[in-house]
Symmetry: C3
């Protein structure tokens, strides 16, 4: 594997899930594979799960892990080409990426959408600059428009817990006080569309995701009908793609409640975390027996470890 930025970098999802579950059973079985190899993790945004699970995945494989908080530990970066750098940015991503490439065998990068300029966000300038200029395999630790390690961990979780061959999985929009990127929702849709599940998205009008991520997916504005018979409810907020970055609704009628969960087929409740309690989901659901959010977070280690293992094997 040369890069990991989306579901399209995994040729066979079933095989990848099996590999991840085997690593979960024997996390140290490849601890010599990463010996004398360095994993560099560059964060433009805060992170708890991604930071710790990626560090642990690298360590489990025997790698040295170096973490860099961009703009805090290091310099503020310029991404535009051809500019006269007489402002506040002290280093161009071209040099920063190439230098990280000198020190690291594999590079992970987290960089959220700015939610100001849709074309800029959807062109994945930070992620693509790292790939273009570092000369190393790059793992997305959540880019402007995708969060593939999360979606991979979500798929692992679904495979572990499904009660039928072809479970019904519902992605539901839920309210949030701040404008959030579409990355998790985009990515989850992409992965579910490729997996052996019956996938439905439900959201208020105006919250349509970009078509490239939802082509062929059933979409409804009726949350209750979507929940009927569902085996997995995946809640997530995102801001509008059409009116880019806007909050069109904070309607708590979309909050996931016990009463709505009763419509499902004893569905498991999923969320990528961090989650706003009693906005996205009621305490009773999140703290109840059907909540699998902590298991999802735990599986982040094994989605990352599978990807890093494949990259190490291809070095």
């Amino acid at each position: 594997m040369k890069q990991f930025t989306s579901v399209y970098d995994i040729p066979d999802l079933n095989a990848a899930v099996r590999e991840a579950l085997e690593l979960k059973r024997n996390p140290f079985s490849f601890e010599h594979l990463g010996k004398r190899k360095t994993l560099g993790l560059m964060f433009f945004n805060p992170s708890l799960r991604t930071r710790m699970s990626s560090q642990k995945a690298g360590s489990n494989l025997g790698m040295e892990v170096m973490v860099l908080n961009a703009g805090q530990d290091s310099w503020t970066l310029e991404f535009r080409d051809g500019v006269v750098m007489n402002g506040t940015a002290t280093e161009h991503i071209r040099e920063a990426a190439a230098v990280m490439g000198e020190y690291c065998d594999i590079i992970g990068v987290r960089s959220f959408a700015g939610l100001k300029d849709r074309d800029a966000d959807y062109s994945e300038e930070v992620l693509n600059a790292l790939i273009a200029f570092s000369g190393r395999p790059v793992v997305s630790l959540e880019s402007a428009i995708r969060h593939p390690l999360q979606s991979f961990a979500d798929l692992i979780t679904i495979e572990e817990l499904k009660q039928s061959e072809h479970p019904k999985v519902v992605l539901t929009w839920a309210p949030h006080p701040k404008a959030l990127p579409q990355a998790v929702a985009n990515s989850f849709s992409e992965w579910m569309r490729s997996a052996h599940v019956d996938f439905v998205i439900t959201h208020p009008e105006g919250y349509e995701l970009a078509e490239e991520f939802t082509n062929g997916v059933q979409i409804t504005h009726d949350q209750r009908s979507a929940f009927e018979g569902a085996d997995f409810i995946y809640a997530k907020n995102w801001s509008s793609y059409g009116t880019y970055g806007s909050i069109l609704s904070q309607d708590t009628a979309w909050t996931v409640t016990q009463e709505k969960m009763a419509l499902t087929n004893h569905a498991k409740f999923m969320h990528c975390l961090p989650v706003r309690r009693n906005m996205i989901v009621e305490d009773a659901v999140l703290d109840g027996p059907t909540s699998v959010v902590i298991r999802e977070a735990g599986n982040r280690v094994y989605s990352a470890q599978t990807v890093l293992k494949r990259m190490l094997e291809a070095l």
Copy 2:
């Protein structure tokens, strides 16, 4: 050992000090004990000694150590139950703790008192939330009301240096420009009360600590009489417990001076650091031959290593 939050987690102080001194002589004698185990250190506040000594203690035991600066590297946290999270806090401690539990075998946490709400501080909400929700052994790296790894290191230092079986140890309040928590003083009192020492506290009126920490301890407002015949002088500022969080005095008549040290039995000068020079203590004392503050800091490695070793053995 399942948790380490106070002196009450150490059944036999003498045995613990002997174990720590044995680790000091042979720091790497248990370097296989922590192999493939992960120590997560979560800091809500700055730290030099605790950060480095805990990292080193974990490394000496062969552990992987992951450090997280809460609210800087990761998310701002909510601690209250039942709230609608529509404000600035992005993640609830329930999830943050449980997720850390997925990645770490042992968790250390530093979280100072806010000094606004005494009941909240003295209920140890952050520390207890970590214990309740992480599902892992938790080491206090200084909580709102105690700093037990510091007190343990202080006891090790006293045992190393004492000239008599039953030395006189004096905890003296000293002035400081800012309001500080009572944690170090509370904890030191708790530990000294349990150790084979003659323990005296001296402070200005109004600076009484909570009774649970000082029950049975001799307390005087006369600093000079307290110093007489002392073998160890432990200086520390704290803000008022009664008028909670207030500075009642910045009287430099309480500063520890050479002239006062002359009243003692050639006492060693102790402080947990960081120390405000010429407020808490004169340069001449701190830089003189009786100062053992650096040795105390060095012993932080071995108090932490003893605790981590016991936790690893009990996993």
Copy 3:
């Protein structure tokens, strides 16, 4: 080697470069040398290359590496002696350094010039305090007035790429929007003056460096004549030493361009990074085939590793 703060800590530059190039060929050949040894890296300023290359150099030698962001992870520090610490600084460098010495076998420190008080900067108070109070070998990771690991990496790069026994090396001042320290320029001059090269400095009037760094070096205000026949062009901005810390010129007539590079003997373009594009140097030069800035950054690992190896051998 007890300390590494300047070229004067390297008795034989040729031998040091050979040792670095041998480590570059076999980076792990001394991975047992640093086993059970701890490298502490203290940053008062941001860093990408220094942070990552020093971490990697330590890891390559088998060391445990602990990184501390002073004033962010830890406390704000006081450097003046004899003061009453009743202000914002919470810890004195005397204690901070001595405590780091308890936890680390070797200490690296980065601390830039403040550019306010020339005497203070040129007395190297932070670096010298670490040396005086830590009791450990100290590596400068860029001090107020020197950046010796950078200069060492630059010399390695020149030795790797030189086409003649005695290449012409030119240090040219170039414009920058902010006032920068003289450290890189001072240090580069010191190293080149000691190496087997024909060394020339060119800068606008008023940008004279301190004589101790440039004694015996040819200096000209005519950039074009300096470039003629050059084998290496090293660009760098610095603020005025005479009118201390001032920007006397931002004249882009001093920017390094393709047209000027054509005056040279097919010179390699060098810079320590981060570099302001189209201020210091045109994109066309930086992105062209003669640019060796990324190689310089890569060689930072081996300059650091050579120094750390020598320190470990002398422990």
